[in-house]
Symmetry: C2
Subunit: 176 residues, 2 copies
């Protein structure tokens, strides 16, 4: 495979996909979020090969999404726990969850619900704009280069059309 790496791309999505653009990693994170922390338990719940699980856990630990914690020293045994970065990654899982509920289950009937640990109330994650609080509508968005976009490459980028003036973002007139 020699799978491509995107770690140098000037795009948050691309870079994140090096670790999240995979089918096992998100599921392993899911298990940790659900309170499953041990090798064997993860292996059985996911029905993932041990060898694959080994490489994935190593990767997730290296990338700082999980930490390996020893919980007994007789024969040394370990648990894998979400780090802060790992918990942040689970927010992505929740977005995936909403997508899946809408498109893969009849009547939006979720197979799994999230509840608040203290209050017991159901929690339903939705994406909103931090400033206005309104629901995000992807159709209304246009991208533009941000502060860490490689300088000098703006005009070569596919956002050039939105950026005739470096200080103002122009929206596009033609229809999609």
């Amino acid at each position: 495979m020699k799978r491509s790496t995107f770690s140098e791309e000037p795009c948050s999505i691309a870079r994140s996909l090096d670790i999240l653009g995979d089918w096992w990693n998100p599921l392993i994170l899911r298990e940790c979020l659900y309170g499953i922390h041990r090798f064997q338990d993860i292996q059985q719940w996911l029905n993932i090969g041990r060898n694959i699980l080994t490489t994935r856990l190593k990767q997730l630990v290296e990338e700082g999404l999980l930490e390996k914690r020893q919980y007994q020293s007789g024969p040394p045994r370990f648990e894998y726990h979400l780090t802060e970065k790992g918990y942040d990654a689970t927010l992505v899982l929740m977005a995936v969850m909403s997508f899946g509920e809408k498109w893969y289950f009849k009547d939006n009937a979720a197979p799994i619900l999230l509840h608040h640990r203290e209050t017991g109330h159901q929690v339903k994650p939705v994406l909103v704009d931090e400033f206005t609080g309104e629901r995000i509508d992807p159709r209304q968005l246009v991208p533009a280069p941000g502060p860490s976009f490689p300088p000098g490459e703006v005009r070569k980028s596919r956002f050039a059309e939105f950026y005739a003036d470096e200080n103002r973002v122009f929206t596009r007139s033609q229809a999609d």
Copy 2:
């Protein structure tokens, strides 16, 4: 590879990962969101092999995230546009974006910003609880079987401990 499929799993995340748990598919959707719709343009911006792009586009069209639109008939040429399902999938991309900005760029300096097409204002997607409007904190959540969870399997599930009584969700007492 014989890559595993999760299309029958009683989990919205697992099912979605069949199409989103991949590194190229999300990037292709990103291009479409950014207004790049043609085979060659996608191929060049992503630097993806034509053969891979072909299979991915076919897959995304079959799964209903993209639609193939003919835009000229001289020599028939096509464009790939996001469907409603595809736009919903881009919400996941935005969650990924937030994650990437925080963890892969210094000072949270995003390489790409999103602006509202009409107002021009910057838009910053964040995950909140639909009911309370509060920011989601994954540490405060516990999963429980939902309406479409396979009946009868609740007790065998890893949520059993949260579900001693089928009508009430119990939170867990032990620490993580």
